[in-house]
Symmetry: C2
Subunit: 239 residues, 2 copies
DNA sequence: GCATAAAGCGAGCGAGCGATCGCTTTTTAT
DNA sequence: ATAAAAAGCGATCGCTCGCTCGCTTTATGC
């Protein structure tokens, strides 16, 4: 699977996402006509991600947002009740879309090794297609309230667990060998996240997400398949 | 080398660091007596890192800092001329200390494999000893002015290059095999950074930095020594 | 074409920010 | 004990922020 193939089948247009936001915040959004509401929500969300990723959500002012969208202060507040709610809208909607696509992309592979490859590619392609959102969610998570911050941490742990369980199945099937499947998953996750956190670095090197995915796959398999290396926690591998 | 050994020999007390800050900003700091200045600089820097890592530097107010340090607004401004200068003071001093210790820690290993191990451990132990600073520098880098932001990027690339050069020497010596030493270095760096970025996760698991270092070492060697895997960029390994 | 609803506007509000400075308290030296 | 120097203080300033609301403009239905 390449990124081009993934993009074609994922079908995550901004319009669809904004329609979803509209549906889940119908009562607090003043606009009555769907076409108008979706058009402005697209403007607002694009501008929010662009501005916040450049200078941080706290440093971004609602007046900045007004300038970037072409909407007045008053018009903006027809779509959210406070700046904090805007943050929460972006994050909760994004998280929902990501979770849906991640689970969908994983059901199709069979065998632990293929599942690991699939999980790596799906995660990378998703973070490529929604890079501004992924970066935003990572950097702004600590500015959230306690319950929202907890959800962000749970989201991180959930994707790590997903990787760990694949590796655990691989070990049980005798296809993989690692001293600690949770730790292996954590290291793989760190490599996956580097793609959207260090975009500037990889963009400068003209490295495509397909090639990056290839490297991470190779590294992950070297890590999980490697036999006989001394285990750092005192046990040897289980194979 | 363990973290305990590293801590003993590194000798980076807060007092020493603050004395260094004082020396490099002597003209703009109003306090005349060194003892007083160092004591207050310690208060200010500790509180700044704690507050900024909890809510972000932008969201932290100088009044928060006043409350946390027990110093008045006026007294604080005897130690920096603006909130922005405070940010720059913390980052530039931290960067200087880190660079000095990193280079010092690396001169003592011989042979590419031992140098790679040493680089991994030194980086991890340093980020453990100065975790608040590392986290701060990572998260606040984009709030800096353009020239400071450029220095932060250069710093990131410098440590990556350091790893890449070790791997390149290992390949030339026939001890390592990888399709792309720069990419291998980038992935190792991502694993190193995860330690101070996801502190909450590893703390909850009661994972020591020594054990984490063992895992990363194992992963890095699996990545660099792995023979015969198909290269994702179309060439086979050079060995 | 007109009445009504929907959408959009932006000056203005109070709050809280970074930063200042004339004054008081503490320390030091004689 | 006293004068000078150093350190510490916090009310106050100008400014910008998030947010509001009465008004204008645009779209819709008959």
């Amino acid at each position: 699977m390449t990124f081009a193939q993934f993009s074609r089948q994922a079908g995550l247009s901004r319009g669809d996402i904004c329609r979803e936001i509209l549906a889940s915040h119908r009562e607090s959004i003043k606009a009555k006509k769907e076409a108008t509401a979706v058009k402005n929500l697209e403007l607002i969300f694009d501008a929010t991600l662009a501005l916040a990723n450049q200078k941080g959500f706290q440093a971004m002012t609602v007046r900045d947002l007004s300038r970037a969208t072409g909407l007045s202060m008053g018009a903006l507040y027809d779509y959210f009740t406070s700046k904090e709610e805007l943050l929460e809208m972006v994050l909760s909607t994004g998280r929902r879309v990501v979770m849906r696509l991640l689970e969908k992309g994983l059901q199709e592979a069979e065998g632990p090794v293929e599942q690991l490859r699939s999980a790596i590619r799906t995660h990378l392609f998703l973070s490529e297609a929604m890079q501004p959102f992924f970066f935003f969610a990572y950097m702004e998570a600590r500015h959230l309230g306690e319950e929202q911050k907890e959800r962000a941490k749970q989201s991180e742990l959930a994707t790590e667990r997903l990787l760990a369980e694949i590796i655990q199945r691989g070990v049980k099937a005798g296809l993989m060998a690692t001293a600690d499947h949770q730790m292996a998953a954590a290291l793989i996750k760190a490599m996956l996240q580097d793609w959207y956190l260090k975009r500037w670095k990889y963009a400068k090197r003209r490295l495509s997400v397909d090639r990056y995915a290839g490297f991470v796959e190779q590294a992950a398999l070297a890590l999980c398949l490697a036999p006989g290396l001394p285990s750092p926690c005192g046990e040897t591998s289980k194979s």
